[in-house]
Symmetry: C2
Subunit: 186 residues, 2 copies
DNA sequence: ACCTGAACACCGTTCAAGT
DNA sequence: ACCTGAACACCGTTCAAGT
């Protein structure tokens, strides 16, 4: 106690995410963030380049929440687990999650998740030169649904209805993957 | 010339959209918008309740850009036209378009587009009690792709590749609709 | 009815100064 | 190396006042 207040980047990002989750993205202010850390706003600039860099860092946190699903699972269940994790993360961080649509998945963590999808697709029989496109379409459909859900586009629908929609979406995507794995479908 | 500067809501919204298109969403400021209209910032508050209301109005403009496709077309081409229009609108207004994910499609214009999709689905043989869900999934997949594209998630991909992806996505959705029209698919 | 002038609390960011 | 104090230009929004 009484020790010098030292902060590091990880702390800054984690606290920013906490504020966003509690009070929304607009409440994440250099001033409010500094206050929660017990520091002046200017101290933050030693750990983040500016506010955009701060938000970039916060978005990256979302991708580290879940470990990749166990590789013993058959591929359809592995993809389902991935989708469920993504949806859980979105519901936990509704104001930050939509920012994922603005960022190419180039971080180490994002790459790892994408690699997991590639492996699943190869197991499903998708030819290697098509895994990129199939991954993009499948991930985009899931992401689009989940972002719509937490961003408010489905605000007039019941949770029950959205759960059913999500199940059908996954079935549709699984059928698509199957068709890509069984030679060219018509 | 020399006439009193009178502005109305439509002018305010149109000018705000123009600024967003030219310089990005952050450049849409009550001050910058007022300046372009030749008026003080406070004059805007007679026409929009606040900045959130301003942006809501701007987003609505996006839905009025295209007339519904001609009903003489067969349903697959009508849906393709709808998707192509959406993508054109997104490319034209890349900084505003992503906000569509935050709004339930409840405006008159949004309803009209959705109705056009319902009609197409019914023609495809989708049972009436399933058109809601199918419309939601199809629209969400298209919207997710198009928003990803203009928001930057695909920034490392070529236009050629994205065009190919979009075609495959539409084929996949058309196959899904067919399967829903032909009784329950496995 | 519509617009203006002046003012408010707040925002991100800088710079030079402290330890 | 890390944090602070003071300052800057800018932001959305209010209120009372003008025509």
């Amino acid at each position: 106690m009484g020790r010098p207040k030292r902060i590091d980047r990880a702390q800054v990002l984690a606290e920013a995410l906490a504020i966003a989750d509690e009070k929304g993205l607009d409440a994440v202010t250099m001033a409010s963030l500094a206050e929660r850390l017990g520091v002046t706003p200017m101290a933050l600039y030693r750990h983040v380049a500016n506010k955009a860099d701060l938000l970039d860092g916060v978005v990256e946190l979302l991708l580290t929440e879940f470990p990749p699903p166990p590789s013993e699972l058959p591929w359809p269940e592995r993809l389902s687990a991935l989708a469920a994790n993504l949806r859980t993360s979105a519901r936990r961080h509704p104001s930050v999650f939509p920012l994922l649509l603005q960022r190419p998945a180039t971080t180490v963590e994002a790459r790892r998740t994408r690699e997991a999808v590639y492996v699943a697709l190869l197991e499903a029989g998708v030819p290697e030169d098509r895994t990129g496109q199939v991954e993009r379409l499948v991930s985009t459909a899931i992401l689009g649904f989940v972002v719509s859900e937490v961003a408010g586009r489905f605000r007039h629908h019941t949770r029950r209805q959205l759960d059913a929609d999500f199940d059908v979406l996954q079935a549709l995507l699984a059928a698509f993957i199957q068709s890509q794995g069984a030679g060219q479908a018509p």
